[in-house]
Symmetry: none
Subunit: 230 residues, 2 copies
Amino acid sequence: MGADAVKILVIEDEVLLAESIKALLEGKGFDVEAVYDGATGAEYAELGVYDLLILDVMMPGLNGYQVARQVRARRCAAPILMLTAKGELEDRIEGLNAGADYYLTKPFDSRELLACVNALLRRQGNQVDELVCGNTALDLASCTLVCGEKQVRLSAREFDVMRALLQAGEKNLSKETILARVWGYDSNAVENHVEVYVGFLRKKLASIGSNVRIEAVRRQGYHLEVDGTC
Amino acid sequence: MGADAVKILVIEDEVLLAESIKALLEGKGFDVEAVYDGATGAEYAELGVYDLLILDVMMPGLNGYQVARQVRARRCAAPILMLTAKGELEDRIEGLNAGADYYLTKPFDSRELLACVNALLRRQGNQVDELVCGNTALDLASCTLVCGEKQVRLSAREFDVMRALLQAGEKNLSKETILARVWGYDSNAVENHVEVYVGFLRKKLASIGSNVRIEAVRRQGYHLEVDGTC
DNA sequence: CTTCATTTGTAAAAGAATTGTAAACACCCG
DNA sequence: CGGGTGTTTACAATTCTTTTACAAATGAAG
């Protein structure tokens, strides 16, 4: 439940259902808050801190459609997953037009709910592809090494080498293997290329204060280690 | 078929259904193309010029799930509306996990299809009157970049390029994709055109004191960044 | 403990490729 | 025609990759 966790707001008047959704999503690492009526839900949602709203339609007071419209009118951009026992066509259309992004009919399967949540978050760009090691991540989309606040861009070759190392994890990668994977098995690159690029990468890792080191094992190749790990 | 219409690709092997969807959407002002098998659909989709894919699941050859996975693997970001007679839970989950954004069960009502399409496009930022990044907004009606008091008019090409960049947000857009979206995939424009227009846009952004920069990522394309963000 | 051969690390350059910019030209529409 | 827009070309500037050369580290043998 770190500061960078994905935040989800559940607005559902059936307390038991709300709690079970909360438990389900928290089990998957999301940071979930549940409220039990529409007015409170709209108020929370407008804070703008949530990445996703899960919204029941039939509630006393403000109903789901009203909440959705109000929230959208206030320029809240979070995707809305509408949840309801009303499976009728007209309801679905009204929900979508009110600003919902998905319409799920009760009773629903927990796996389906998760699949929806993931699909909505994926579209939001909340699912970044990255490879992580120690305090450092390689963002595959932007070819960038990230460590806390700092980050540094890698060139295409640097990126390929770094990715190979990260994918191998603790395992050793021989230079031969790296050459084959990065330069192609039929290129005329030589092992020193790997050494040169390992040098570049070590500099960049150091420049962002990473605790990841590229360790050389004589005659065996390279592998990653996290500082303080032996 | 202006460069600025919303483009939709329908992939559906039942020709009659495909044509009726096409007619329905064209009636609403969308620019629709229909293809009748998965392989062709995947190929078209990967051009990256469409704003939305409507995808049947059960097709000979590549089925809808396979098309979705392939298209997503190629980093095509357009939302996918899956369309199918299979209404079973497992199918819905599989579809969502394959990269779909919505799952609509046949037979469906035309109004519901439209509501879905609108919901998906709304989320993409295709139905708003301005796109915002940093301290700067692109007014879609007047083709004008606005930053505080200052503003500057964009030419049609400049506008198309700027909009593509804004819609991609943080993500990189390859020059190939920009060419396809702005000039059309069958034009004979070359990558240098993109570079030239990026140059124009940078000048105009600077002239109104925008804190938005167009960053080049070598061999990967361009993306936006807000000054002060690293 | 030295010496030597081997492997790994680093710096600097030359070379290649990509990206940026300026400017000339074509075109279209009032 | 004239002004703005779009296209194309050519070249300059920048960045990345490869190459070279040599220094530093390692480990085995004497």
